[in-house]
Assembly symmetry: D2
Homo-oligomer: 304 residues x 4
């Protein structure tokens, strides 16, 4: 079956009416999103673009941005990055502080909030204008100069981000945060507020499906080794404490965000992004998970 | 570079002299193994067999056996299996009891000891002669009728297996163990004592690299979906709390045992087994990890 | 107000009809006890005996027996006892295994199950006939030669004691259990099955209210220092994870059991035992807690 | 033996030379204190004042101040206070965040940092000038109008108080903090910086040894019930995760601070304060613990 037909089938079979979850409510701005939204975009390396539904509508990518900031930090620090954050699945809810106590402030991986905040600290240390540089990086790999932060969302996050303030202060007490708390969180709340559509996300993640090379112009952005490592991290840690479930049901490396977006890649084959704001109890898009499971079932291949 | 050359390079570059770990000592019989042993066998689906060192010498496969028993339990119970064991990485040392307390006796995955004991309980419930049936299954997929338990090892495990007795009793108190404690542990200590060589392990795991079909005769043993799920579980949970590290450095689904064996597969490409009894602090073969990392570096491809 | 009037007031004001808890059900024999039972006996050092209700009816003292076995172990080992068990409140449900993992098999105190099992192990190591010796000790301090184990209860405990089997095996794996598992648990299930009435318990605990001297005949059984330490342990650890609450509301050292008994002492003043089988969610007698709170309120003094 | 002789004996037998601990270093100002300092003051309700060493020298009372703020909060809120903080021992290091996760932001007791911060939040909510009111309360019960904050210490705490910032933010995320973070921590860092001598502390704590009545003028400040409850809390929770040890060795309700001070009371008999800045690994004054153990041994009585 070809990709467009598969996407059409997914659109027919899945409906927000059958979901049991809820739109994220802890950030006021996210709670306003229409739960009926549903979009999907698949970018095949060899045969191009396929999409359904609200695939061109921008949403808050939230934690998906952690893949971009990790990529930038790896480029800046190389292997020494791993002295400050580990690469193991967390086995705990995504905002847990427990593990930090037992492991001296070293977060388990760069995709839990604690780890992403250490990455933010690193970017604040090493870049003059981290917010501008992140935008530039994302615009470049997406091939779209208009991608931007949603400042209303960024402000909204800040007003209720006590848990993240708690995390940064706690890790600072444990010695794994170098900068002042405010610039780190300012950067972090901005990165989470990045507004992108499924189409833009699929374009951006083609970098990771294509071995670190920009498909549009052949420019080598990331070494093969680094791409593999980022993909491996998405496989084992990309879905909070549902990473095993996603790997088990879908079988692709991916990353989700509480805005309801999920992006996944099939190395050398395609990148795909899906968006539906209704979340399951673990904080991942309910329809998004189902859509990607259908995708790998109908295409007949996962990476396994 | 072709596989035999790559294996030769691995053999030249790795030496037990440079290790810092120790042979497993908690089971008396395992402590007697010569730490200098080193063997590796790669079975390529298209081009056949390659090996170095002690690849034909049998050793105690220990936790690698959990892949076989999981496969049998999936065949017996189907999806209902997942009501009794989860599919998430553990994030905790391999014999941890903590998680069970918070999750009502449901082990996080079938590859931690608690999970494997639930699998053993299931096989004891559903099979008349679980020890015989396991042998038969392993002999069949390996194509070798002489594979057997090492009864000295099985007895040795029993004499010091208090932790496993603790686990089974505790899960029985929590309602997730149905049979008496003794037959479950008798089966479990036997499965861990299975003696196989790298060559035999690579032969057996070709089943998982080849989509559930016995390469030798084309017999379909496992559905494609189940193979993918087992491979996904090996990817996210196969290495205790070093699963992320293995995925990050090697990028293949695999499973290790405290006997010093590691097996890994590259779906549709090859299965590979390596053996060196010296373990790193997380309980995985130190040289085995290094050998597989070199393998994917030198071959230039992981699944990512 | 004198003691008998206070007990009468307690009897009038408290009724099983107003309880919301349940009789212990995890041991089949305990589940059979009539929930309407209620008795109380106060033994004043200076003015003698006072009682109400079912104060002469025997019940299963369960964890209250841990005070007796601790006393015997202190007499046998002296200070070296504290290398194998700590003296800190647990902060965790009474059958938690978590803490043992982080503290290498050393239970937090001798009144949680793990600690009492280490004490049982010590008695099994140091006594030829621990079950006989315990009976003798309890009979002596109670002044009643007919106190005995309830063998039906002991057998009932064994049939469902998987959690305790789990604990002993786990601590054996961690090196803090020296004997075989069976004799330890046989002793432990017997100690828990001791059948005593409120009157007998108050008589026995006068030893701890009277500085280690048998009030009946002036015999010095325990050093003043040891009595104080046992009383301090009852104060901080006698009520599972409700020890703070009991200290806060009642203000006396005491010990409860899942059979619905509670015993408490006011040093140099009195010992008191109360029995009502209905338990609150933390596993302590609901009416027993209320009765003792009323007692210290109406008498106008706690140890604080 | 009379009290002055006992204090003299303590002074002779204890020396900072035999300690193995260290002065608190996490607050820069505290690290500057002379480790050789040692003072003790006992205030007997019936026979007056006794002292040795540096008993008139002021030091930073730190966590001892938590008893004062708890007293004020109990007076303001009555029983409803206990909806926001529990009364159980923590069983965890004093700055642990783990427990908060499992208990929805309700600290285990008012003497761990999290609990004291909730108390601070309550005072900030209910008082116009909490810092002034606290000073007034302490001055009143001590009978000394010159007691004051040490602003250098308060500033020093703020500069390194990331852990406390972490705690407050985290509890705010969980809904158990009502005010902005800054005024709460400003108040908290001030309360910890209170500078008092052993003599002043013994004077202040006579309130708790004397049933809530100011001994100097007979004024009833606290109800008997509240005094007993505060004393019970000091008994079970006053020494971080060494509360059991203190109860076991000393047998008095008390409270310690990382400035090296410890205060304890014997209800109806005396209050006593001791100061030596060298701390044991649990954060309590090493010589202070020893001095109080000697005191109850030599006087021959604890509350047990």
């Amino acid at each position: 079956m070809e990709y467009q037909k598969i996407l059409n089938t997914i659109q027919e079979e899945l409906s927000y009416r059958n979901t049991t979850g809820k739109v994220a409510s802890y950030i006021p701005e996210l709670a306003k999103v229409d739960p009926k939204k549903f979009g999907m975009h698949l970018y095949c390396r060899d045969s191009g673009h396929y999409s359904i539904g609200d695939s061109k509508e921008k949403f808050s990518i939230q934690s998906i941005s952690k893949v971009f900031t990790l990529t930038m930090a790896m480029q800046l620090l190389g292997e020494s990055l791993w002295e400050r954050v580990d690469v193991e699945p967390s086995g705990d809810p995504f905002n847990s502080l427990t593990q930090l106590e037992y492991e001296q402030g070293i977060p388990r991986n760069p995709f839990i909030n604690a780890g992403a905040l250490v990455i933010a600290d690193i970017l604040v240390s090493n870049l003059k204008n981290p917010k501008t540089d992140l935008l530039e990086f994302v615009r470049k790999i997406t091939g779209n100069q208009e991608i931007d932060y949603d400042l209303t969302v960024a402000t909204s996050e800040k007003s209720t981000g006590y848990r993240n303030y708690g995390l940064v202060n706690y890790m600072k007490a444990l010695g794994n945060i170098k900068n002042d708390v405010e610039p780190i969180l300012d950067f972090y709340f901005h990165q989470c507020s990045l507004a992108m559509s499924c189409e833009e996300l699929a374009n951006a993640f083609m970098l990771y499906a294509n071995g670190g090379i920009l498909l549009e112009n052949g420019e080598k952005i990331l070494s093969t080794k680094r791409v593999k490592r980022i993909n491996a991290l998405m496989q084992t840690c990309g879905f909070y404490d549902e990473a095993g479930e996603f790997s088990f049901e879908v079988g692709l490396p991916g990353k989700s965000g509480v805005g309801g977006g999920i992006v996944a890649i099939h190395p050398s084959k395609y990148s795909v992004a899906v968006w539906s704001p209704i979340l399951n109890p673990k904080g991942n898009s309910e329809l998004g998970m189902a859509a990607l499971e259908k995708l790998t079932t109908l295409t007949g291949f996962s990476i396994f």
